[in-house]
Symmetry: C2
Amino acid sequence: MTPSRTTSGRTPGPAGQPAWELLLPAAGAPARRRGRALQEALREAVRSGRLAAGTRLPSTRELAADLGVSRGLVTEAYEQLTAEGYLRGERGAGTWVGGAVRVGGVASTGGGTASGVAATGGVAGAGGAGGVAGAPDVRVDFRPGVPDLSLFPRSAWAAAQRSVLARLPHRALGYPDPRGLPELRGALAGMLARRRGVVADPERLVVCSGVAQASTLLGFVLRARGLRAVGVEDPGSPEHGRLFASTGMETVWLPLDGEGLRPGPLAASGVRAVVVTPSHQFPSGIGWSAERRAALLDWARAVDGYVLEDDYDGDFRYDRAPVGALQGLDPERVVYAGSVSKSLAPGLRLGWTLVPEALLDEVVERKRTMDLGNPVLDQAVLAEFVTRGGYDRQLRRCQRAYRERRDALLAALAEHLPGTKVSGIAAGLHVIARVPARFGPPERFLARAAEAGVALRPLEEYGTARPADGDVRLVIGYAHLPPSAIAEGIGLLAGAVGGRVAS
Amino acid sequence: MTPSRTTSGRTPGPAGQPAWELLLPAAGAPARRRGRALQEALREAVRSGRLAAGTRLPSTRELAADLGVSRGLVTEAYEQLTAEGYLRGERGAGTWVGGAVRVGGVASTGGGTASGVAATGGVAGAGGAGGVAGAPDVRVDFRPGVPDLSLFPRSAWAAAQRSVLARLPHRALGYPDPRGLPELRGALAGMLARRRGVVADPERLVVCSGVAQASTLLGFVLRARGLRAVGVEDPGSPEHGRLFASTGMETVWLPLDGEGLRPGPLAASGVRAVVVTPSHQFPSGIGWSAERRAALLDWARAVDGYVLEDDYDGDFRYDRAPVGALQGLDPERVVYAGSVSKSLAPGLRLGWTLVPEALLDEVVERKRTMDLGNPVLDQAVLAEFVTRGGYDRQLRRCQRAYRERRDALLAALAEHLPGTKVSGIAAGLHVIARVPARFGPPERFLARAAEAGVALRPLEEYGTARPADGDVRLVIGYAHLPPSAIAEGIGLLAGAVGGRVAS
């Protein structure tokens, strides 16, 4: 055994403390990239087990000095990884490697006791949840679900199509690998590891037509293993439940609070599978706390269960770095699913799922019998788009547009419906607005809005809660609307319900 | 009631005999088109009930005189519609409207008695049934399943892609109609009615990813209705059974003879659903006789059952007009499924299914939960391709190429393996070759072929029959091979098994 120091770990230690210096390979890089590299390196060290659960990290001051970087950069990395559940910290007491991560190691169980609520259930923020504009009397449609389809990069996509048809070998036009085109699986794995902090092994990535298909694939596989029910977030997307219902699984609503799924009701529900939206919960807009992420994974391990992470809008985060995906904490318990539906267009029907080793063969065989695999040309076009940087450019473009629209919505609500509390604003394509009771009651509010040509969707359509305080709770989708339409719509609404109209 | 003549029907009769003259709207058209128009008009008259079952048709001489067309044209029309089951004739005795057609009318039941054989089961002529070339030691791969991928019309496809991206409205990029793009459903319905004689209501057409998905969709729907088993042709494609197995349905092999599925074993099997390939049976290559088509539909009506018609290679018929699809005879009992996998490329994953009214909503909801619908851009490209004539051009191009290859194969077999009997040559992308026992026995024949780098698939892999006559029965796919490769492959084979090598 090689002796190793145990305080700040300045000395390389093969089994004990790591060489912190080795965590930052790109020391000469610009600050922003160094910060990201530090975070990625720390995440990887935790996952690989090189940093075991319970290991105390050096203080931000010490590590910054060791690495020759600013202390702020280290602080930011610690905060980010704490939010993601890799680290845990107590103010003033220090930072430790958390117990939630499980890639190849062992972790303690969590959980609790309470009562699960059986009900009908529901793909987060998808078209099934509404949002298709165009009823003749609708002037402004705030129902969530679709991105701005005019942002679809037609020229770039056309160029990629041309390039693919010019270079693809003939044999690639045959029956596809049901898992997807190798070049796309590689490109997506790299993109997802970089952007979403997932453990993305291309061998575990299955190209599919989107989160809806990922849900159905998983549902059939779990049903064939004897599971009979899936837990869904309450409030949540009723579409999750419908998709699992089509595979023979019943839905159990599981209550959320401000931090995530409540451990007690989860444990009491008896389910062994749940669908969650931890990065930006749909529809409430909260980000799950690190504790609740850890608790959910503890639960999954304890019951030998699985978590489907619907990362429906993980690409859009406006005021801070995105929270890494839950899957990165335990890729053997979390099935990660995402798509291009919000970033490019739902009509492309292209998505991906990262599948635990234990379920992989069954999921791939299901995919095969469902459709023999996704269309090859589309896959090759997306691969080229991701590889050549088009996808990142598109995300930046959407991010700018959607942040601007969110700000326009917040400003219009503040101006026209004063007193409205808006939450879930940090990310995504929608917010929750709680309009004071004086503009209500809810039924009349919604009826008047509809008469004025403003399509709205109340929060209660997404769950079982029926608060009696008279406030109007709305799930407002804004990403598909230009700022002028947002201002117009909220103005129309205010005129209809007695808000402030003139400015 | 208007009186009407009952002999040759020269007088318009609203309820009795039709005005034969009215059957041929385009009297001034060129002969080839007039022949097709007559066939279509007769078909439509039978379907609509204007020509009731049992109605005797005028003689070919009479009708030709009435219509002012050649007698050969009428004879051809009668023969074609007899082959398709619309008409029945006895040489010298006359031609009647058959009893098999059921669009809105009534028909008698058929059937018989015998024993169904339970076994494991099989999408006809699809990649799953083999045919992916490229094992390192394979020099010529005769396994059936893939078309010639080099015939994919890349420039025309690229042009259609460009055009679609230039003209599609933004909203078309949103979540699709799970049934498919209306413009594609219309285009396909027209093409299928024209080319395949199906009753193609765009409202009943569901765009899907191919025959495999059509099978799975139907399997889930029938299973939910309580059906537990599906009958498949023996010999047939094992893939049909695998797909239905994924939906919880068992497979029952049902024996074929030279005319189609034997009615006795079918009736005795107890199944209420079958998958068939009546236009060009896979793998035997027979076309089902009109009697067996009628008997199958009688059976389906009697047991309140359904028939899945896998029209996997209906587009390719070399020596006569294609036999119309079974679905045209009873669209309420036949689920018709086809795809572009043989005409364009399997990698496109685009197909269609025509669904009886009674199953439509369930099939569409299944399609929705499986993948929310096919990719929109691909659908729009195919719609444009069909509408602008590109699809017909492609079929003509493939038809020419594949006929040439079939002829090359027949010539090579006759030269190098004399005595080989080849069947199923009238259509499709493969033939059945029965090589005389003197080149065998089968195990040694296949082993020597493999050593020589010739990949072959024996017929016995497609069913339960194991003839003991020592002849070698092969399913030889030729469509993917240029004539030179076909000649080379059969020459290699002859060298390995003692055939005639030099020429």
